[in-house]
């Protein structure tokens, strides 16, 4: 590699340095989410490992399933939500873990942006990854278990999205908390899973009712509960993140 250094353009780096206006919370969140998605598109490590897990788990549960003992509409919701939970944990761990080797997260802390924007950006990218896993897993489950999801696509999508937002908000915060510890991969599920339980119970119950052919109005209560959880989780986690970073 050559080591000759070109002369600096004096107008670029002068005493009269320009004053820039750093981006606001939402703008910085979009910049960070875009970067995380760009990194993932290059490596495909998060999506690939999570999708491999999802497809394997679906296949294993399918081959272990006795259709004469349990109906597909009784089994599929549980299988789906176990897969969403654990594949989600896989991608959540990489959210901050991928930045550790080069300490890229230090540059985010040193940047002149509100740290809430960093959290929201990370969470937004995680939501995209988890949604991508769900988009592949739900049709695959419908195919394997031979359940018709077409007529319930809209309410099911609403339930899946609402649950994903809650999982991502809580998971992103705990991922940031666990990443600097030596047992990050163990600590993240230990911290996050208890908070995932109410979301997964609601979502699995609602999915079960929809697959059983109950009207969409029957799951409105679950949807309202999930949305309420989402609002609380997003607000609390976003406001907690900066003080976590200060520690």
């Amino acid at each position: 590699m050559p080591h000759n250094i070109s002369a600096p353009p004096p107008e670029q780096y002068a005493l009269s340095r320009p004053t820039y206006t750093p981006p606001g919370v939402l703008r910085s969140a979009l910049i960070i989410a875009r970067k995380d998605i760009q990194v993932e598109l290059r490596t495909r490590s998060t999506i690939f490992s999570a999708l491999t897990f999802a497809v394997l788990a679906l296949a294993i549960s399918f081959f272990a399933w006795d259709p004469t003992a349990v109906g597909p509409t009784d089994l599929a919701p549980g299988v789906l939500w176990v897969i969403f939970t654990f594949s989600g944990l896989l991608s959540l761990h990489r959210s901050f873990g991928g930045e550790q080797p080069t300490r890229a997260a230090d540059a985010l802390i040193a940047a002149p942006i509100e740290q809430e924007g960093v959290f929201l950006g990370k969470a937004l990218a995680n939501l995209v990854f988890i949604a991508a896993i769900q988009i592949v897993t739900v049709p695959a489950a419908a195919l394997l278990y031979n359940v018709s999801m077409g007529p319930i696509a809209l309410p099911l999508a609403a339930i899946v999205l609402a649950a994903a937002i809650g999982l991502v908000a809580v998971g992103t915060l705990f991922s940031a908390m666990a990443v600097t510890t030596r047992l990050a991969e163990l600590l993240l599920p230990l911290l996050a899973l208890p908070f995932f339980v109410p979301i997964v119970i609601c979502a699995a119950q609602a999915t079960s009712k929809l697959l059983a052919g109950r009207p969409a109005a029957d799951v409105n209560g679950y949807l309202r509960l999930l949305v309420t959880f989402d609002i609380v989780a997003v607000v609390v986690c976003t406001l907690t993140y900066p003080s976590l970073i200060e520690q």
Binding site: I5, S6, A7, P8, P23, R42, T102, A107, A111, P112
Partner: protein, 237 residues
């Protein structure tokens, strides 16, 4: 008259009962370069993080361009942070990394600024190469481009020579000289006395959170300073 780039008065930071930084005072102006030496655990990195607004002082005051620290985004916009960790995203190209940083600092034209910063660092030929494919020396140059893309008033470098071979260290010194001469203030924490003494206008040896010795130009010659450094370091150990 403009305020000094960095002004610290009796700056102190404690972690529990331990005083990591104990009453440090210094004034640096545009074009000044402080080389900060000291044994491990002397408080150099903590002092750098205080200057960068990343830590709150327990007592004492400090300001950058007249803005009191820690100061929030307004102060962080004036600081360029550099360490032996590149703080880059290896799968992204050099250009994408520097552009990302420019966007976070609100630089008006991130693409143009990234291009100019990479050009200044002599890394333009590698702008579209992913960082993971670059040599350690070239990665460090990209990291400097990332740190200066927003033309900071002060560049804080924490052991930037670590992991570089002699040629890479010389190239990095050339970049620091360039930055210093163009008006940036530099603080370099390092164990590399040779490179740092050749470009600094101020040199300090830290011991137990304090400046055990602070020299301004003319700095003692390398052999003399090395002897002083060893004496103070051994004493600290």
């Amino acid at each position: 008259m403009p305020p000094p780039t960095l002004l610290a008065t009796h700056l102190t930071r404690t972690f529990g009962p331990r005083r990591a930084v104990a009453g440090v005072s210094i004034e640096l102006n545009p074009g000044d370069c402080l080389a900060l030496f000291g044994p491990n655990g002397a408080g150099k990195t903590t002092l750098l993080r205080l200057f960068g607004g990343l830590l709150k002082p327990t007592s004492g005051t400090a300001s950058i361009d007249g803005i009191p620290l820690p100061g929030g985004p307004q102060v962080r916009a004036k600081v360029g942070l550099l360490s032996h960790h590149t703080m880059l995203y290896p799968p992204l190209t050099a250009r994408e990394n520097v552009e990302f940083s420019a966007r976070l600092y609100g630089v008006t034209n991130p693409r143009q600024a990234a291009h100019a910063a990479l050009s200044t660092l002599g890394a333009l030929d590698y702008a579209d190469t992913s960082v993971q494919s670059l040599s350690r020396g070239m990665q460090q140059r990209v990291s400097i481009a990332r740190a200066i893309v927003h033309t900071p008033s002060i560049v804080l470098a924490d052991e930037p020579f670590t992991g570089l071979d002699a040629s890479g260290a010389a190239a990095l010194s050339a970049v620091f000289t360039q930055l210093r001469d163009s008006g940036a203030t530099l603080i370099i924490v390092t164990h590399n006395l040779d490179e740092a003494l050749s470009l600094c206008t101020h040199a300090a040896i830290m011991r137990r959170g304090r400046f055990a010795r602070l020299d301004t130009a003319p700095i003692p010659r390398l052999a003399e300073y090395t002897a002083l450094y060893k004496e103070l370091s051994v004493d600290a150990a």
